[in-house]
């Protein structure tokens, strides 16, 4: 027993003495969600080494805080957060990481929601009888490619503060990325143009930014209220509404119950389609533009 303790203490002591390995010359960035990882990689290029705490297939609202997340944060120079209470779980991981660079209020803690025009901000009293509502507004702004310029500007500023010598390069990378995004945006708008004004049902109300961008309307949610599983009576109402309003699509997150959505869609004569709620959420959505590409193509195909 004591020998084992001594061995582990010795390993810990070695850890203090050994300088950080290979990626020492890169800026070590941890993003809370894969979308921010992807955008940081676009901006930072070869100068950054980025990891994400959440995976694309997970529900970013509630993440299990594993010590492996603390390990990622232990060595981070910057922590890029989505903010608006989507990733407030990260605070528990930060407190277990013992890294003063990224504690709340430190320069290495970056909230990229600054400057975002937030939707669904409650204008009346909110409490949990309304479900798991976000008092600061809907936090899923990264699903709207039109928000990428603001997010990437925040990232450039954060990286530029940490490495002022490379600020020009970060800005150059950002402009190159935004040029590619421009081209893709024209393509997406052409594809989505005919769908303007169409109604869709969503499983969880996290698609409002994407829908607004392309002029689609959210008619109902499968969840009774955000985060509250649907009651049979609510689902019956949704099916009736879908039939009456001829709604063709239910949007489902990769982490949500596709079987239930498919059953509802079948009864309503519609299709359940899984969109990438984050980069990596579905196969092939392995970059920011690829994820939006997938979402646009899936919507267009389903609504034909």
């Amino acid at each position: 027993m004591l020998r084992a303790f001594r061995t582990l203490l010795a390993l810990a002591a070695i850890g203090l003495l050994v300088p950080a390995a290979s990626a020492a010359d890169k800026i070590r960035v941890v993003a809370t969600i894969p979308d921010l990882k992807a955008l940081t990689e676009e901006v930072g290029g070869k100068l950054v080494d980025v990891e994400s705490l959440a995976r694309g297939t997970q529900n970013a609202h509630e993440l299990e805080i594993r010590p492996s997340l603390m390990l990622k944060l232990r060595r981070a120079d910057l922590l890029i957060e989505n903010g608006l209470e989507l990733d407030s779980w990260a605070e528990v991981a930060v407190q277990g990481a013992n890294n003063p660079n990224i504690v709340r209020g430190a320069p290495g803690r970056v909230d990229v929601s600054r400057g975002i025009q937030v939707l669904d901000v409650p204008s009346t009293r909110v409490d949990r009888s309304m479900g798991d509502v976000h008092p600061l507004g809907n936090p899923h702004y990264s699903l709207d490619p039109g928000m990428a310029p603001i997010i990437t500007q925040n990232i450039v500023d954060a990286l530029g503060r940490f490495a002022p010598d490379h600020r020009v390069e970060f800005e150059k990378n950002r402009q190159a990325f935004l040029a590619r995004l421009d081209e893709a945006m024209a393509r997406w708008e052409r594809a989505m143009g005919p769908l303007k004004g169409a109604k869709v049902v969503v499983y969880h109300p996290q698609w409002i930014y994407l829908l607004n961008r392309f002029g689609l309307n959210q008619a109902a949610t499968l969840e009774d209220r955000p985060g509250i599983p649907a009651s049979p009576a609510h689902l019956t109402r949704v099916i009736r509404q879908m039939k009456e309003e001829q709604i063709k699509v239910i949007i489902v997150e990769p982490w949500n119950d596709l079987k239930l959505a498919t059953r509802i869609a079948d009864e309503a004569g519609a299709k359940a389609v899984v969109l990438a709620s984050m980069v990596g959420g579905v196969k092939g959505a392995d970059s920011y533009i690829a994820a939006i590409d997938h979402n646009v193509n899936a919507l267009v195909t389903a609504m034909k």
Binding site: L9, A12, I14, R74, G105, R125, L136, Q153, N154, E183
Partner: protein, 455 residues
């Protein structure tokens, strides 16, 4: 003529107030119209202000994507005059992004438990909730306040109330109050104040957050019903290694009377813990740890308790909850005790000898959660007692139901079997609690903020 004059005078008298009333009504209408115009003006102004982007931060709000490619972000739904006129609720302080924002989080957790058991167990006080057998009561209602003190430290304060004996008023006490220094060098953090010690996996966890109705037998036998809670300082180190390891060292008063009880920093309770973690792919995760706590008892004898912990979770990819969770902890206590010796057989103690008592115990729990709202599991306990002879084992199957993330109900059955040598308060009032069967139930809620739980 006189009559005509009288009629004219009467008409004038009658009509004067009517004319005056008409004038007042016109005036009133004018005032209402003016107020409506003012309200409309204020409404328009507020809508314009709310539609504006937030004050410029480091990020320019103007997208650099070509105008045709990226339409401006859609404006939030305009507020109606009724929305604007509606009185602001106190809760909306939380929504403000200005000087009125609450600078820390507040949460309330309520934990109510009940149990039904045999009469003899109740008489002997040998149930899981000793002295509270066959009752339903608030075990722990906890007010938590937590947040940043400044850029260098955070703080947690928990005030707890609960019924400790039948019919007694609900006592209120300070459960925890500590600050954490976050910006110390070399990957260290310090926590000082009154806290639940980070000893093993379950000791740190509050009653309402445990995966079972009750704390495992071995933890209650060796640290008391509340577990190890002390006042002092804990220092943690997370070295910069390719794998996760957390080392912890602590120094405390030693107030826990079940295990220590010397209550002075001149002979402090010292604690230590090493914890590591492995991920086997994205779906499997294992945490292993070892702990030690060493201090003096109230009668100045050395007491050292070693602990081991293991926890495994299997969470299929994309699931919101684990499918399988395995948890186990073991304790081994090395303790000197004073034993009175009757040398001459006259019934009187002639000398006090120091004897070594090395006792231990463990528990192992399995939980399966096939659905988001339902989980079922079983826990097996085996434990000796810190000083006295004998041992007990128990088995506790249970089922948990969550209507939402913030509300939970749990039902369990627990069978406890104690050995014949057992003396620890299980044969009181001419009653025996050697074999105990209990139905346990629990209702817990969370109101307001609650931090995420670590693995």
């Amino acid at each position: 003529m006189r009559a005509l004059a009288l009629i004219v005078i009467s008409l004038c008298t009658a009509l004067t107030p009517a004319v005056a009333a008409a004038q007042e009504a016109a005036e009133l209408r004018k005032q209402i119209e003016q107020l409506q115009r003012q309200l409309q003006s204020v409404t328009d102004r507020l809508q314009r202000l709310e539609a504006q982007p937030p004050p410029p931060g480091p990020a320019p709000a103007t997208p650099t994507v070509a105008p045709g490619a990226a339409a401006p972000a859609p404006a939030a739904a305009p507020l109606s005059a009724i929305d604007l006129a509606r009185p602001r609720q106190p809760f909306s302080l939380y929504q403000q992004r200005g000087s009125g924002q609450l600078l820390f989080d507040i949460g309330v957790a309520g934990d109510f438990v009940g149990n039904i058991t045999q009469k003899n167990v109740a008489r002997a006080g040998g149930g899981t909730f000793a002295g509270q057998e066959n009752r339903f009561f608030p075990r722990e209602v906890e007010l938590s306040l937590f947040g940043q003190i400044d850029p260098y430290a955070s703080a947690v304060v928990r005030i707890e109330a609960g019924e400790e004996a039948p019919g007694q008023d609900t006592g209120v006490r300070l459960a925890e109050a500590y600050m954490t220094l976050l910006t110390l060098p070399f990957g260290t953090q310090a926590r000082l104040g009154q806290m639940r010690n980070r000893y093993g996996w379950s000791n740190e966890i509050h009653e309402h957050d445990l995966p079972w109705v009750d704390r495992p037998n071995v933890m209650r036998n060796f640290f008391g019903p509340e577990g190890l809670q002390e006042k002092g300082l804990e220092l943690t180190l997370v070295p910069d290694l390719p794998f996760y390891i957390e080392a912890l060292a602590g120094i405390f008063n030693g107030d826990n009377e079940t295990a220590f009880g010397r209550q002075t920093l001149q002979h402090p309770l010292v604690t230590g813990r090493l914890r590591t973690f492995f991920e086997l792919g994205d779906e499997h995760a294992v945490m292993l740890g070892m702990s030690v706590a060493s201090g003096q008892t109230g009668d100045r004898n050395r007491s050292t308790i070693l602990g081991w912990e293991a926890r495994y979770k299997y969470r299929p990819d994309g699931w919101l909850h684990p499918l399988i969770t395995l948890t186990g902890e073991a304790l081994y206590s090395l303790r000197k005790v004073d034993v009175g010796v009757d040398l001459d057989g006259d019934g009187a103690i002639d000398q006090v000898d120091k004897r070594q008592r090395n006792h231990g115990g463990y528990y192992a729990g399995l939980e399966v959660q096939p659905f988001r709202r339902w989980a079922g599991g079983v826990r097996y306990d085996w434990s000796q007692y810190p000083i006295n002879p004998g041992w007990e084992w128990a088995i506790e199957p249970y089922v948990s139901f969550w209507p939402s993330e913030f509300l939970r109900f749990r039902l369990a059955y627990k069978h406890t079997d104690r050995s014949t040598q057992t003396r620890d308060a299980f044969n009181l009032n001419d009653a025996s609690a050697r074999k105990v069967d209990e139905i346990l139930f629990q209702a817990s809620f969370i109101l307001g903020a609650h931090p995420a739980h670590p693995f």
